[in-house]
């Protein structure tokens, strides 16, 4: 089956297998990373805007 070119055969098989696995894994973990990154940026923005900030829901300050 490999016709003597075992290196390329196994490298191709490994590439397809590794890429499939990493795609699923990175999709799940990366989604969580985005959530964390946006959360951090929101916190930094709130800090830099100071303590007094309009409350969007009630039009008050907190």
């Amino acid at each position: 089956m490999t016709q003597g070119h075992w290196f390329w055969f196994w490298l191709t098989a490994l590439s397809v297998l590794w890429y499939s696995t990493i795609t699923i894994y990175v999709t799940i973990k990366g989604y969580a990373d985005i959530g964390r990154m946006l959360h951090e940026l929101r916190q930094q923005r709130d800090k830099s805007h100071g303590e007094i900030k309009p409350n969007r829901d009630h039009g008050e300050t907190r």
Binding site: V16, S20, I22
Partner: protein, 543 residues
């Protein structure tokens, strides 16, 4: 021949809907996160809040565009499995750099936003400015062919007339520019995550179908038949050889260390440890990046064969004398004009010559246009659009950041407000977009695309990698050496590219070849650094 002229399987309604859905999702995501951009750090390095898995997705998506797919498939078509060698070299380089932290640890720990910013601390403000100019010049020259080749791919796969190329290029660019200009690195990172998912699904589905339907044995037989033993070993392939392999090892190591888009991911990571993990865990992707499209290229050779005349329309073919047609048909793979005399070449005219030269580059999209069923065709186009958009956006932003941060640094006597800085960055990204469109329309690329890209890239890869290594590990390095490395490292590839374009020196350039010229650029940069640094008197160094 029938296969070349046959219609594509692209269905406007089914495949078009899949593509439309993907584009809508990307635009919405890119525009949604723009509200988090408040400081220039958010715009350029996403506030340095990028974590490991987002970094892996982003780096993988950036480093795979339609252009990548086209030149790696062209390598597979032209050289068989031996064409995958650059991927193996880059994977090894990336893994070793990630494990050892060679250069990347001190670079990330320095807190710099770009490479030239780090160089300023060691070599002074002028070297920072000059390094910025060289990085932008090499990077933009390299990037100039992206849109044109992306447009070529989409026209061929969808069966659109090639005269629509300008409109396709413009539309692609506008979509990318909108979210890159508004959201900067933050939009780029989040859209790249989506693009990574779509791109990977498309690449895997098409590869599995190719392996299942064409079969491993047929792929191996094709390589053996057309390339012999050299098709499996780059060292003994007649068109590659030791100089090619050596240039790949040097060039891919240098690009891992200093390629602006890769460096931007390192600098956007939370810390140097996260940056190094991104390198080690993304390294094997670079094997896939070359092997997967390389297999598509080999499959194109297996099904279409070497048929340069298939590129010509019936009218163009009728105008070519039968003797010349026979010579072109019997030419070696990738060299359709090799057996023709100068008189015969000039008789063909530049338009037909260009079309014949594009045969190897167009083989893969022509093959896919007939091979893929409806539905999977839509997924492939969405995947390729995803790949291309992520690359374009990231490249525009990365080189834009060097223009703002380093080339414009002397014009900012006092720090600018975030509002002004972000506005300037947006304008720079917009101008890079306009340049891409104009360059893509007018520049005619000849020969192997990857060789062109590595050679244009070495205008800055050679000097910047030498500067980075010297900056981190050679206490004797100074600004004289840095200037020597930048000047000598840039001169060699620029002279080679100019010689390739001038009729009187074209033959000399071909005899030297891009690989020897590329190696010479790195040697020249290293010599410039060593001699320049040693020549500077000690009293001047202290002052």
């Amino acid at each position: 021949m029938d296969l070349l002229l046959a219609q594509t399987h692209f269905s406007f309604w089914i495949d078009g809907s899949i593509v439309g859905l993907y584009l809508l999702a990307t635009m919405w995501t890119g525009l949604y996160v723009r509200k988090y951009v408040h400081r220039v750090e958010d715009f350029l390095v996403a506030g340095r809040e990028m974590n490991l898995y987002l970094g892996i997705a982003s780096l993988a998506a950036t480093e795979f565009g339609i252009i990548t797919c086209m030149y790696t498939a062209q390598s597979g078509y032209l050289y068989g499995f031996a064409g995958v060698m650059p991927g193996l070299c880059q994977a090894l380089a990336m893994f070793m750099i990630g494990v050892t932290g060679f250069c990347v640890k001190p670079l990330r720990d320095s807190g710099a936003m770009t490479l030239p910013e780090l160089f300023e601390r060691r070599f002074g403000a002028f070297v920072r400015w000059l390094a910025g100019v060289v990085i932008v010049m090499g990077g933009l020259l390299n990037m100039g062919v992206f849109l044109k080749i992306g447009g070529d791919f989409l026209c061929l796969v969808c069966g659109f007339n090639i005269s629509n190329l300008v409109w396709i290029m413009t539309a692609l660019l506008l979509l990318v520019m909108v979210y890159t200009i508004l959201g900067g690195m933050l939009s780029v990172l989040v859209t790249e995550f989506l693009q990574f998912v779509v791109m990977s699904a498309g690449l895997l589905a098409v590869t599995i179908l190719v392996l299942y339907q064409i079969g491993w044995s047929r792929l191996v037989d094709t390589v053996e038949q057309h390339h012999g033993v050299g098709g499996f070993n780059a060292f003994i392939h007649p068109s590659l050889g030791w100089d090619y392999v050596l240039f790949q090892i040097i060039g891919t190591t240098a690009s891992t260390l200093t390629w602006q888009t890769t460096v931007a991911r390192l600098l956007a990571s939370k810390d140097s440890s996260t940056g190094r993990k991104i390198f080690t865990q993304t390294s094997f992707f670079f094997v896939c990046r070359w092997l997967i499209p390389g297999i598509w290229g080999i499959a194109a050779l297996a099904t279409l064969g070497w048929m340069p005349l298939g590129e010509l329309s019936t009218q163009e073919l009728a105008a070519v004398p039968v003797v010349v047609q026979e010579k072109i048909s019997g030419s070696p793979i990738g060299k359709p004009l090799d057996s023709l005399s100068d008189a015969e070449k000039s008789e063909l005219g530049p338009f037909v010559v260009n079309k014949l030269n594009d045969t190897s580059l167009h083989a893969m999209p022509r093959f896919l246009s007939r091979f893929l069923p409806i539905g999977l065709m839509g997924l492939l186009i969405a995947a390729m659009l995803a790949a291309d958009m992520s690359t374009d956006s990231s490249y525009m932003l990365s080189w834009g950041s060097v223009i703002y941060n380093d080339i414009m640094a002397p014009f900012r006597k006092r720090p600018w407000s975030n509002r002004k800085a972000i506005l300037w960055n947006r304008c720079i990204v917009g101008l890079i977009g306009v340049y891409l469109l104009v360059f893509g329309l007018f520049y005619k690329l000849e020969g192997n695309v990857w060789s062109f890209m590595l050679l244009t890239g070495s205008i800055y890869l050679s000097s910047m990698s030498v500067l980075l290594v010297a900056c981190c590990y050679w206490p004797r390095a100074n600004n004289w050496g840095a200037l020597g490395a930048i000047i000598l490292g840039a001169i060699v590839p620029i002279v080679q590219l100019t010689m390739e374009k001038l009729p009187s020196t074209k033959a000399y350039a071909a005899a030297i070849g891009p690989d020897i010229a590329g190696i010479a650029a790195f040697v020249a940069a290293a010599v410039g650094m060593i001699i320049g640094s040693l020549l500077k008197p000690h009293n001047l160094e202290k002052s």
